[in-house]
C-alpha cells in the first residue's frame, strides 16, 4: 500500500471512529422532533416543577380557578413558544424557579386566593415556559413540530396535575397536596439560592 492510500485509509478510519450518533434536539434519541417536544417540558426539571406547582395551586382552589388558569395558559404558551426563537427567548429558568418556590409555599398554606389571580398566573408561567423552550439548530419543519409537541406536553402535564388536585377532596389527599407543595418549594428554593449564592 502506497503512502497516499495509507493516508486515505487512516483518514477514513479516523472519521468512522469519531462519528457520533445523530441528535435531533430530543430528550431521547430516535423519537423524533414532535415526541421530543412533548417530553421536553417533562424532562427539564424547572419546567415540570413550575407546571406541577401551578396545577397544584389551581386544583386546590377548585374548578373555577382551574378553568381560568387554562384560559390564561394556552394563548400565553403559544405566544411564548412563537417568541422563543427571538432575542427574548432563553434564560427564564430562574423566574420559573421563583414561581415554583412561591406557589409551593402557597400550596402548603392552602390560602384561598381570589379566583381572578389564576388567569394572569397561568399566563405568566406559560409565557416564561414557552420562551425558555427554544429548540436549537433545526429547520422550519422540525422546529414547528418540536414547538407543537412542547405545547401539547406542557398543557397535558398541567391538565393532569390540576385535575388530580381538584379531585383531591379527602383529608389525606389534601395533606398529600400540601406535602407535594413543600417538596416543590424546598427544591426550587435550594436551586434558586444556589444561582444567587454560588459564584
Amino acid at each position: 500500500m502506497n503512502t497516499g492510500n495509507r493516508r486515505r485509509l487512516f483518514t477514513g478510519g479516523a472519521l468512522l471512529c469519531t462519528a457520533v450518533p445523530a441528535w435531533s434536539h430530543a430528550p431521547m434519541q430516535g423519537i423524533g422532533e414532535f415526541y421530543g417536544g412533548i417530553l421536553h417540558p417533562l424532562v427539564v426539571p424547572a419546567h415540570v416543577l413550575a407546571l406541577v406547582m401551578l396545577g397544584l395551586l389551581a386544583g386546590q382552589r377548585g374548578m373555577a380557578a382551574v378553568r381560568r388558569t387554562y384560559l390564561g395558559f394556552l394563548p400565553a404558551l403559544v405566544a411564548g413558544l412563537a417568541l422563543s426563537g427571538t432575542r427574548f427567548g432563553g434564560g427564564q429558568e430562574p423566574l420559573l424557579l421563583l414561581f415554583s418556590a412561591l406557589a409551593g409555599l402557597l400550596a402548603v398554606v392552602q390560602w384561598r386566593w381570589p379566583i381572578g389571580v389564576f388567569l394572569p398566573a397561568g399566563a405568566a408561567v406559560a409565557l416564561l415556559l414557552g420562551l425558555d423552550s427554544a429548540p436549537e439548530g433545526l429547520a422550519l419543519g422540525p422546529y414547528v413540530a418540536t414547538l407543537t409537541g412542547t405545547a401539547l406536553g406542557a398543557f397535558a402535564c398541567l391538565l393532569l396535575v390540576a385535575d388530580l388536585s381538584e379531585r383531591a377532596s379527602k383529608g389525606w389527599q389534601r395533606i398529600g397536596l400540601r406535602v407535594l407543595g413543600s417538596w416543590g418549594a424546598a427544591s426550587a428554593t435550594l436551586v434558586y439560592a444556589m444561582r444567587w449564592l454560588v459564584p
Binding site: V179, A186, L197
Partner: protein, 195 residues
C-alpha cells in the same frame, strides 16, 4: 511536516468534540438518582427522617402532616446557608443529635405543644439541609439532585408515618416506642462517631 501534523491533531480534536446539550437527559437522571440516594445512604439521615414521621404519627393530626411539611421547607433554608458558605458549627453533631433527641421523644411518648415539636424539628432540619446543600453545586443537575433528595426525605418521613400508624393498637404503641429506642441508641452511636 510539523504543521500538517498539528493540523491533523487539531482536526481530530474538532471532530471529537461532541455537541452541547441544553438539557442532557443523562445529567438530569444522574442528578436525580444521586439526590435520591444521598439521604438514603447515610444512616444518620435515615434514622432522623424516619423519626420525624414516627413522632408525627405518634402526636397525631395536625403534627402528622405539619412536621413532614416543615422539615423540607426549613431544610431548604439550611441548604441555602450551606450554599452561601455560612459555617454552621457541629453539623454532624447536630444530625446525630436529631436521631438521639427525636428517638428519645418517641421512646418517652413525649407530647409537647405543637409549636415546640415544630421548632425542634425545624432546628434539626437546618443541620440536615446544610449537609445536603454543600454537595449541591457538585451535582450534574442541581435541580434534579435537590428534587431527588427532597423526595427521598419525604418518602423516609412517609415510611415513618406508615410505621407510626401502629400506635392505634396498644401492642403497636409499644412497638413504635421500641423503634424510638432503637433510633435513640443509633443516635448515641452517631454522636460518638461525630465527636
Amino acid at each position: 511536516m510539523q504543521v500538517s501534523k498539528l493540523l491533523w491533531v487539531a482536526g481530530l480534536g474538532v471532530l471529537l468534540a461532541t455537541n452541547a446539550q441544553a438539557h442532557s437527559a443523562a445529567d438530569i437522571g444522574g442528578g436525580f438518582v444521586s439526590g435520591l440516594l444521598h439521604p438514603v445512604l447515610g444512616w444518620d439521615h435515615v434514622a432522623a427522617m424516619v423519626a420525624v414521621g414516627l413522632w408525627g404519627a405518634f402526636l397525631g393530626s395536625p403534627a402528622l402532616w405539619l412536621l413532614p411539611v416543615v422539615f423540607p421547607l426549613v431544610m431548604a433554608v439550611g441548604g441555602a446557608l450551606g450554599l452561601a458558605g455560612v459555617a454552621l458549627p457541629g453539623v454532624e453533631i447536630g444530625i446525630a443529635a436529631s436521631a438521639l433527641v427525636l428517638g428519645a421523644m418517641i421512646l418517652l411518648a413525649a407530647r409537647p405543644p405543637l409549636w415546640i415539636a415544630g421548632v425542634l424539628v425545624a432546628c434539626f432540619a437546618i443541620f440536615h439541609g446544610h449537609a445536603h446543600g454543600t454537595e449541591l453545586p457538585q451535582a450534574a443537575s442541581p435541580l434534579a439532585y435537590s428534587l431527588g433528595f427532597v423526595i427521598a426525605t419525604g418518602l423516609l418521613h412517609l415510611s415513618g408515618i406508615s410505621f407510626g400508624l401502629l400506635v392505634r393498637w396498644p401492642i403497636g404503641r409499644m412497638v413504635v416506642r421500641a423503634a424510638g429506642a432503637l433510633i435513640a441508641i443509633a443516635g448515641v452511636m452517631f454522636l460518638g462517631q461525630a465527636i
